[in-house]
């Protein structure tokens, strides 16, 4: 009964190098190489140090100024995480509702396109006028920036169900909740997560933009202060810290994705 010819499985072609070391080594070498090039390049070409400090100089500030960097790092992180969480909590259910009711999709479409087209950063002063100089305008702008990629991907994700799959679940006598829990939600998850990863990058951008417009804390606020004193080294340190924050939060998101979606691990 067994069919040996049919049974031989065609395994998914995977990107395999001999070991993890061999896989991670080249990109790490690229990073180290760029830093070395920067370090010695600025000496060779005699670039003015007060405009472009060498890595060793501003990296040093992570030690000497660790208190102020850590304080502003955590202030920015707090706003990014909160704004991201609020945006996600609204965008995913709204995406589900829009995907579920075609009339809602049809009627809301022009509105969504309109708001999506506005470059969100130009609304930053408005939030300051509305909400003052505290945390709230920063959280609001972060949430608004994060909102649209997650909303659009949620709509796409929840819409991308093969209708014949619904026939299968109906023939099992599935309740609407069961169809959602067992089929629709997990099917949409990879697409929603792609939107969340995009949203995380926007969240950091949104937060630092709001800090530029009006805030007394946060990495962008620190950069503005440092600029006033022509402290380019501190500016570079803060830019690096912002990049680290983005990478850290995206990394956490990737970890959650891997944990939630084991079937995509070797993609």
């Amino acid at each position: 009964m067994l069919a040996t010819d049919v049974k031989s499985p065609t395994m998914s072609p995977q990107f395999h190098l001999s070991s993890p070391l061999a896989r991670f080594m080249p990109p790490v070498l690229v990073v180290i190489g760029s830093l070395i090039l920067w370090e010695f390049g600025s000496e060779w070409f005699e670039l003015p140090k007060y405009l472009l400090p060498a890595p060793s100089e501003f990296m040093n500030r992570f030690v000497t100024d660790r208190g102020v960097l850590a304080y502003n790092f955590s202030a920015t992180a707090y706003v990014v995480i909160l704004g991201f969480a609020i945006a996600t909590a609204i965008a995913i259910p709204l995406g589900l509702a829009i995907a579920s009711y075609p009339s809602l999709n049809h009627n809301l479409f022009p509105l969504i396109v309109f708001f999506e087209t506005i470059p969100k950063t130009i609304t930053a002063p408005l939030f300051v006028v509305w909400l003052g100089f505290g945390l709230s305008p920063r959280i609001a702008l972060t949430a608004v920036m994060t909102f649209f990629p997650i909303l659009l991907n949620s709509i796409a994700g929840f819409s991308a169900i093969n209708p014949r799959l619904n026939y299968i679940t109906r023939s099992m006598g599935a309740t609407p909740w069961q169809s959602f829990r067992f089929v629709r939600f997990p099917s949409a998850m990879p697409i929603i997560f792609a939107g969340m990863k995009m949203g995380m990058v926007y969240a950091v951008t949104g937060c630092v933009t709001a800090e530029f417009v009006g805030a007394n804390e946060g990495l962008a606020a620190l950069i503005l202060q440092a600029a006033d004193y022509m402290d380019v080294q501190l500016m570079f340190a803060a830019i690096f810290a912002t990049a680290m924050l983005g990478m850290l939060l995206t990394g956490i998101l990737l970890g959650v994705e891997r944990w939630l979606m084991p079937w995509r691990r070797d993609l």
């Binding site: 009964m1 010819d5 049974k7 031989s8 395994m11 998914s12 099992m172 979606m261």
Partner: protein, 285 residues
């Protein structure tokens, strides 16, 4: 059931009246129960008449194929029989009772495997248990058995995209059978497979069916598949599809991969080709 009727005897072609339309469905014929009966069934979408009217029935434990050209409404017919589409006219009876909601004592296989990418092969089959709230251990045991019989041993913990097209479809068949439904509906289940896999999976399905004797409605456009698997083949016309011919296939089971060894196969096939030519499905010059 009446496997003896099929084996041993010299196979003969029985053809009933060339048009089945108009026969009044009765609950019992030849002592076998008419398990599923559809009368004067038609379906239109908007102003477009996609199907019928057709009268079909499936006896308990009978393997019935619907053979027709593409676009004739045979897939629509299956969905209506499953209660997943409401007929425009007519109705379906199961065991003499009119079907009002979608059938649940059923397993369905489509041309695309429709497996959930986020579940392993085995978990895909267990979806039946989770949604229906069946006994977990019993279904696990049954699933394990089916995996063995369908040549899927060792594939349990693989995700669908790690399986070949043939194996994906085998998992789909296991999912349709694990809860032991009395009806199996298949809509061109081997349509996307290569010819070699098709022959093997056809053989495996027949063996499985001979063990379990479900009532099967098998939609296909392959003459060879229809004759190779069925007790009865219903030939449908171009759109809007009607059943124009009913052919009883009296070939012993299990039927071989190469059906050409039976002279009767050639006769059945020729009859179907002639019908298609008469209908204008084929236009040979």
């Amino acid at each position: 059931m009446s496997i003896t009727r099929l084996s041993g005897n010299v196979p003969q072609i029985h053809t009933t009246a060339s048009t089945v339309k108009g026969t009044t469905p009765s609950l019992v014929e030849d002592g076998r129960r008419r398990f599923i009966a559809a009368s004067e069934l038609s379906k239109s979408f908007g102003g477009f008449q996609a199907l019928g009217p057709v009268n079909i029935h499936i006896e308990e434990g009978e393997f019935v194929s619907i053979l027709g050209p593409s676009g004739c409404g045979k897939s629509t017919l299956m969905l209506v029989v499953a209660g997943l589409l409401q007929p425009t006219k007519g109705h379906i009876e199961i065991n003499g009772r009119v079907l009002k909601r979608s059938m649940t004592d059923v397993g369905i296989v489509f041309q695309d495997h429709l497996l959930l990418e986020f579940r392993t092969a085995f978990e895909n089959v267990l979806l039946q248990q989770e949604i229906r709230g069946l006994d977990r251990n019993q279904i696990r045991k049954r699933a394990q058995e089916l995996f063995g019989k369908l040549g899927l041993s060792g594939a349990e913990s693989r995700y669908p995209r790690q399986l070949s097209g043939g194996m994906q479809q085998r998992v789909s068949i296991a999912r349709a059978l694990v809860h032991e439904p009395s009806v199996l509906l298949m809509d061109e289940p081997f349509g996307a497979l290569d010819a070699i896999s098709r022959t093997q999976i056809r053989h495996d399905l027949e063996a499985l069916w001979m063990e379990t004797r479900k009532s099967v409605l098998f939609i296909t456009h392959s003459i060879e598949e229809a004759i190779g698997l069925s007790d009865r083949v219903l030939v449908m016309s171009n759109s809007p599809g009607r059943v124009v011919e009913e052919i009883r296939i009296d070939l012993p089971r299990p039927r071989p991969a190469y059906l050409g060894q039976y002279p009767e196969f050639a006769k059945y096939a020729q009859q179907i080709y002639k019908t298609f030519e008469k209908l204008g499905v084929y236009q040979f010059k």
